[in-house]
Subunit: 218 residues, 2 copies
Amino acid sequence: MSSSSATADPKLSLTAADWARAALDAMAAGGLDAVAVEPLARRLGVTKGSFYWHFQNREALLRAALELWERRETEDVLARVGDEADPYQRIVKVFREANAGYRSGRLYLAIAAAEDNPLVNEFVQRVSARRMEYLVSCYQALGFEDVRARHWARFAYATFMGNLQIRRDSPDLMPSGAPFNDYLKLMIKTLIPREAGEKSAGDSHPHVVPMHRSSGHS
Amino acid sequence: MSSSSATADPKLSLTAADWARAALDAMAAGGLDAVAVEPLARRLGVTKGSFYWHFQNREALLRAALELWERRETEDVLARVGDEADPYQRIVKVFREANAGYRSGRLYLAIAAAEDNPLVNEFVQRVSARRMEYLVSCYQALGFEDVRARHWARFAYATFMGNLQIRRDSPDLMPSGAPFNDYLKLMIKTLIPREAGEKSAGDSHPHVVPMHRSSGHS
DNA sequence: GGTTGCCCATACGCCCCCGTATGGCTAGAC
DNA sequence: GTCTAGCCATACGGGGGCGTATGGGCAACC
């Protein structure tokens, strides 16, 4: 898809962004410790000499990779569902995107697993806070009062994260196909109750799951 | 008691179990990579010479630590709420224990983060499957048909895991005190519906969280 | 008091990673 | 053609973890 790095590229010269991308890929595959200079250099077909020209040290690479991650996380993910008018559909979309584009979630888990690193922790905190805020705003738009909106948003976010974890750790426990869709419907129906303040906007049954998959990609 | 290990113990001789316990502690603190022979030896006040008398290599220690974890996980956690008669209260207890005893959950996250290790993955899969089975049996005892029981159990388990993740990665997003109790009540009320026999939507939540009393359910 | 077995210390070679120092190669400027 | 700047290779020292080899202390046992 989007030039997601290869072992040998036609490019004759690497950039700092190339290194940052490779670092993120490594992180998704092997966690924080996989962001090592020499292995990355080998994977990119160069040596350390290249790296230490573009970056001062390993931590600078880590910072660049995390910044890239944060950028993707807020620009890509949220901007793709942010144009949805109906707050209900916004939440539904978040859930669908989340459970389909497993790749982004896996990356989150890999990064968050290194929360003992203060630099990582800083980024994780910002990203998760921003996600929560988005969900809170959705529930508020549905008519929920602040505290309740925050509770429901946290609830939904936790469920979303837990599904990621289940899918990663024990995929056998996660159904696929039609049963999975039933599971999704159950969660959506449960996590978006309709007793906020009765925000009108369609009294019939707007709570229908449209069932449209957008192609994966980050 | 349970003497959570110290740097220098009165014991003049270490056992394999001591090493396994120390390995688990290290894992909870620093992930899989923290289970290193020489650092652990330093922490226990001995040298590698001791370790390689008790174990053949690092993987043997890892296996011992994971077996200890699995034993604790099934004997301690489940055996503590398993004697509860009311299935509703069983689920409530699981949720309460989970959100209170943050320690065990943090350990789970640390271990599960290393799912790329086949040995670790094997144990994680067994433990999570066993947890899920327990929850499924609770929902079945509540009268849920098999597939729906499995959906609700997965839902509850995912929410439980997600709350752990939130609490670890961004504790600021998790309320404390009275608001947290409201949050817990909301989740419990939502995740233990009462419509085992039917399948229609639009139900309210008749269950009340008793807090201490075992409610005469059914 | 010598022997045996348990538990551990010391020392070594190996590998892998970090960071630095230094030199080489290529393309464009002049 | 020379000079310069960008990009990278090579080589080195240091650190830390793994696994092994070997020996020492200390009990119990006979």
